[in-house]
């Protein structure tokens, strides 16, 4: 059924259709609307979710951990500093192997305090053991949230899933959207049936016991194996989702990559801008293409290397500063993935769009201009650069 919803409303609607057992709810811009819409569904009796209002995000994630361990399906939504305040619990959720689903509406981290979109919040949590899936637009935000539970819950995965979208750009902009019927959604996600849970009286369960050195590493290997296995599961769920929706999803989306010589690698809503710029460049004969990373954790390294193998120059665009002084997190992953190729494209990193700094099609065209020069001269120039900021120096 067709509708027009903001990204937040679309995710809240997906939550309503899922009808989870528990929501840990705490507001923070720009994700506030998600628990707000959901509270209305609870008040109107449209869901029978236990809606737990808490005093902080540390507690909302604690609620989710306790509920999921008890055998319930638990969800939450947050942004920016809220995610940062959950940091300790993110690791607990993942290492206790509790497949909680979290809507992360990406926003810059303080400070200086800023409420607009970038990926510094979820990128800061990239090594916490959560599966991370990013949306380009409202439709993907809705679809990804519905796919999250079937991805995270199977016994060989058992990992929490962070379903991300760009703050305001996606969360607050109203777009046309195709919604699934509620019974189709419920049938798709099915019942949550963990083998063991706290409320199962047959075998009392201890969750998160103290793990001494002779055991801890083995448990981390188990967790790492689950993350590796998640890749195949994500593809499997994407195929199943295509059958009910007609929309198919992989680990990343390749846009006009068949014969691309110059390519971008980026995450999130900027993909829409990049596609428009690429269409324009294609009209004048530039072989431009885009790889939009959908799944950042597990990182599709081998698949990405194959996708970029035929290109000559690639710009990896990071919407977060890693402060590594060696490029952003997406750049680090991409460069690492390309190392195993016999013949690698030239690679540059562009950190852009921090704290909601706008990126236009002209900016993307300039990036392709830089890539075209690199492809001709074989000189990358500075590899780790910023874009869209004011400077006394000329910026490419």
């Amino acid at each position: 059924m067709s509708s027009r919803l903001s990204g937040n409303e679309a995710v809240a609607y997906a939550m309503k259709q899922i009808n989870p057992d528990v929501m840990g709810a705490f507001p923070i811009t720009p994700s506030t609307e998600i628990p707000e819409y959901f509270a209305q569904y609870v008040a109107d009796g449209e869901v029978n979710t236990e809606y737990v209002t808490v005093e902080s995000e540390h507690s909302s994630m604690s609620v989710c951990i306790a509920a999921q361990a008890a055998g319930a399906r638990a969800i939450s939504a947050t942004s920016s500093c809220g995610l940062a305040l959950m940091y300790e619990l993110l690791y607990v959720a993942a290492s206790c192997r509790l497949p909680i689903t979290l809507a992360c509406v990406n926003r810059a981290l303080s400070g200086p305090i800023n409420i607009n979109a970038d990926h510094s919040d979820s990128m800061g949590a990239r090594d916490s053991g959560w599966i991370q899936i990013y949306a380009e637009n409202n439709q993907e935000a809705y679809d990804n949230f519905i796919m999250a539970m079937p991805i995270g819950e199977p016994p060989d995965i058992r990992l929490p899933v962070m379903s991300c979208m760009d703050g305001f750009i996606t969360s607050h902009a109203v777009e046309n959207i195709e919604l699934l019927e509620t019974d189709v959604v419920r049938n798709f996600i099915g019942e949550y049936k963990p083998e063991n849970y706290l409320l199962k009286k047959e075998n009392p369960l201890a969750v998160g016991p103290y793990d001494i050195s002779p055991y801890y590493m083995e448990h981390k290997v188990l967790e790492a194996e689950a993350m590796k296995a998640a890749k195949a599961r994500i593809l499997e769920v994407g195929t199943q989702f295509a059958k009910i929706s007609g929309r198919s999803y992989g680990l990343f989306e390749e846009y006009r990559m068949e014969d691309a010589e110059l390519a971008l690698v980026l995450i999130g809503s900027t993909a829409g801008t990049a596609k428009a710029a690429i269409d324009k460049l294609r009209e004048i004969g530039v072989k431009a293409g885009l790889v939009k990373i959908r799944v950042f954790r597990p990182f599709p390294g081998e698949e990405l290397a194959r996708a970029l193998a035929g290109t000559r120059a690639v710009a990896v665009m990071d919407k977060s500063e890693g402060f590594s002084a060696n490029g952003g997190p997406l750049f680090a992953e991409t460069r690492s993935a390309l190392y195993d190729l016999k013949e690698r494209p030239y690679l540059i990193n562009i950190v852009y769009g921090l704290g909601g700094r706008d990126v236009k099609t002209e900016d993307i065209e300039k990036v392709f201009g830089r890539l075209a020069d690199i492809a001709v001269t074989g000189e990358t120039g500075p590899v780790y650069t910023h874009m869209g900021h004011r400077s006394k120096e000329d910026i490419a």
């Binding site: 290492s95 206790c96 192997r97 509790l98 058992r158 063991n196 075998n203 009392p204 369960l205 201890a206 969750v207 998160g208 016991p209 793990d211 002779p214 055991y215 590493m217 083995e218 448990h219 290997v221 188990l222 967790e223 194996e225 689950a226």
Partner: protein
Amino acid sequence: MIYAKDINEHSPWQDLTPGGEIYEPGTARAFNTGTWRTNTPVFHEEACKHCMLCVPFCPDSAIPVKDGKRLDFDYMHCKGCGICENVCPFPAITMVSGGAVK
């Protein structure tokens, strides 16, 4: 189901439970924590009147009782805190330095 009795410090990762979760109660019994001890209580049975004061004071339930009489210490779980010696009204418990059981 993986049971605690089937897991030890030599088990490969494939044989452990996800997140280290435990599916039975009371598994601490199987775990030797007596190695943490730096002082050790010695039980002098001839001086013991079996008043049972030491038993509830033991924070680790390391004093077994059978047929109304306390037995020697459960050194697999005793941490050597010395509370038993402190509450004993008789010279039935003395603490010695070191974790080894004499």
